[in-house]
């Protein structure tokens, strides 16, 4: 597990107050919403804010499909890496 992947998993667990869940319990390609980890629409809002704050990046509000980055830990890690490279 890369450092970034681990950090993102821990951020999800902490930000959302998920009990009984450790980084190892979240697969990097597991869907975060819906049937996967079962996060809801408010979690999506919370996570959007937490990711921007934690990694000092900004989600481009005018880009289409920004929410695709939030599909899984993997896609979030790719998004954070790419955003940092630009910054």
């Amino acid at each position: 597990m890369s450092q970034l992947t681990l950090e993102i998993k821990q951020l999800i667990i902490d930000a959302l107050g998920l009990e009984d869940l450790g980084p190892d319990d979240i697969a990097a390609d597991q869907p975060l919403f819906g049937e996967g980890l079962g996060l809801d629409s408010v979690d999506a809002l919370e996570l959007g804010l937490a990711i921007q704050k934690r990694f000092g990046i900004k989600i481009d509000a005018d880009a289409k499909d920004t929410r695709k980055h939030f599909a899984s830990v993997d896609s979030l890690a790719a998004f954070v890496s790419a955003s940092r490279a630009i910054a």
Partner: protein, 558 residues
């Protein structure tokens, strides 16, 4: 652009756009509604449940059903348990889901255009009742018409031709009035779909020459600084309803947008009651008359309640001399999570139906966001599952079970598992006590059942708590009491029961672990301190069999 009264929407000859993407004119809405009315009449449908994401389709469904004299039920969600309960009331389901009817399926030979009957009982809203049963609230068309006429009188001039962009669903009274019926009558373009993310609201706003937002605190209190706030200042008005917006969030919006959000306080039962723009106090909507019962809960009379009806709410309030008021929280066991109304008794009885549960109580936990916590007394089957599959398997199973009864948002995130629920002298568990139990960390100490001094040692009867904090880290799928915790418990109990115990830990001797101890096990611990040798003897028995034993060396400080 002129106002068309709700009951004249099918007969007006005015040409105007109802929505874009794809575009739809009022004439097309009327045509489709009349085809639907014909189809419903041919099938002799008197009532139908409607759950549609597209606001324009919902407009067609409502007008069509009303023209056919049918009643529309609007369920808050399509959870299986909810559907089952409403099935008796609805002759058919018109939804976006496969297996249900779609608008296209139901079209028939059109009825003629005609004015709608203002006395038609055309709408039934479904919400959570405090008894645990869903509550059905009927509205006549005249009630809906009067409410949107009041909204237009208050804010119509400001809004002008603003497009209506919403983040909320149209299944609730707020979304239905603000995103569908009011724009339809006023001739303001409505966006078809709800946009739950601020980024999408921003993109949609940029495409409109003028716009307003119909949003909720869930979104408005979570808007980031990645948005183009200077551009968004164009917004004509920001409506928020479903629950009060925290003062800091309202203040921040004011700084970013140059205007206070317009908050509406209301309920499914009453429709709109009051509004505010900044500050704590609410201003009653024109025509609304307020009173209070002896507990201080608001009583509401308004032009859009059934005539002569006075609705008693469960919202505590403080009325001021100038007619404004402050809200002081609900007085029953309905809670709101992110504007979703949730009946705790309903979820508690749903939980108790599961084989793992003998009794359950729920409370709200305020963390980063508010969520539910569950205090659960496990049945024998539940304890068996906990011992053999672990805590996470049990809580996941219970969450899965509840998933049929509520939206994901209401699934408890914190669980406290017990043998039985505590109660006060009246056998009740007051909500404050329940909330405190949910907030407390999971136990780290044993439950002490009995202790006595016998011959030369202490005999202590213990029970291993079902929910011991240590279980999560140690073999989470088959929880066992770690040896190091057994030693710690022996040491702590010895310090409490035996005087003059030397303070310094000097090591362990002849440690033996022979038998596992698991959640819920009854253990017997014997403790004896040999002063001469400075050794604390401990031995645990589990169901008569030796479980673990050893000697702890204790000495004076060096």
């Amino acid at each position: 652009m002129s106002w068309i009264a709700l009951c004249e929407l099918l007969t007006s000859g005015e040409s105007r756009q109802v929505t874009d993407a794809p575009a739809l004119l009022l004439g097309q809405v009327q045509q489709q509604a009349l085809h639907l009315a014909g189809g419903l009449q041919r099938r002799n449908v008197r009532s139908l449940a409607v759950h549609l994401e597209d606001a324009a389709q919902l407009a067609i469904a409502l007008l069509g059903a009303w023209r056919a004299g049918a009643r529309v039920l609007l369920p808050a969600d399509l959870q299986p348990a909810n559907r089952e309960r409403l099935d008796a009331q609805a002759e058919l389901w018109l939804t976006d889901q496969p297996g249900d009817h779609s608008l296209m399926d139901l079209l028939g030979e059109p009825l003629s255009a005609a004015e709608l009957d203002p006395q038609l009982l055309g709408l039934t809203l479904c919400t959570s009742g405090s008894s645990g049963q869903p509550k059905l609230i009927d509205k006549r068309l005249a009630q809906l018409a009067r409410e949107i006429e009041t909204l237009e009188a208050l804010w119509g001039a400001d809004l002008g031709a603003a497009s209506v962009i919403g983040s909320v669903a149209t299944q609730h009274i707020y979304g239905l009035l603000f995103r569908v019926l009011w724009p339809l009558c006023a001739g303001r373009p409505m966006l078809r779909r709800p946009l739950p993310f601020a980024e999408d609201m921003q993109r949609a706003s940029r495409e409109q020459p003028a716009f307003c937002w119909v949003a909720s605190p869930a979104l408005l209190k979570r808007m980031g600084d990645n948005l183009d706030w200077p551009a968004l200042r164009q917004v004509r008005r920001v409506f928020s309803s479903g629950g009060p917006l925290p003062a800091e969030a309202a203040q921040l919006l004011r700084e970013r947008l140059g205007q206070w959000p317009t908050e509406i306080y209301g309920s499914s039962e009453t429709g709109g009651i009051a509004w505010r723009q900044g500050g704590e106090l609410w201003q009653p909507l024109p025509g609304v008359e307020l009173g209070q019962d002896e507990q201080g809960a608001l009583r509401v009379a308004s032009p859009w309640l059934a005539s002569g009806h006075v609705e008693q709410t469960a919202d505590g309030a403080e009325l001021h001399a100038d007619g404004r008021f402050a809200l002081r929280g609900r007085l029953d066991r309905i809670v709101k999570l992110e504007e979703k109304r949730i009946s705790l008794p309903m979820l508690e009885s749903a939980l108790a139906e599961h084989a793992y549960v003998s009794e359950a109580r729920l409370g709200v936990i305020q963390d980063q966001r508010a969520y539910l916590g569950a205090l659960v007394a496990l049945s024998e089957a539940g304890i068996f599952a906990l011992r053999n599959q672990g805590r996470r398997a049990v809580t996941q199973t219970l969450r899965q079970h509840l998933n049929d009864h509520c939206e994901a948002l209401a699934l408890p995130r914190r669980w406290r598992l017990l043998h039985q629920l505590p109660g006060n002298a009246q056998g009740k568990l007051p909500q404050a006590e329940l909330d405190a139990l949910l907030l407390a960390p999971r136990p780290r100490e044993p439950e002490r059942l009995q202790q006595q001094w016998q011959d030369d040692h202490w005999q202590i009867e213990l029970r291993v708590p079902l929910d011991l904090a240590h279980f999560s880290g140690h073999f989470p799928c088959t929880p066992v009491l770690p040896g190091v915790v057994q030693i710690e418990w022996a040491m702590n109990l010895a310090r409490e029961l035996i005087d003059d115990l030397p303070p310094r830990f000097g090591g362990m001797e002849v440690l033996k672990f022979q038998q596992l101890a698991r959640p819920g096990d009854h253990l017997k611990l014997s403790l004896r301190f040999d002063h001469a040798r400075g050794k604390l003897y401990f031995a645990y028995h589990n169901a008569g069999k030796p479980c673990s034993s050893g000697r702890i060396l204790l000495g004076a400080r060096p």
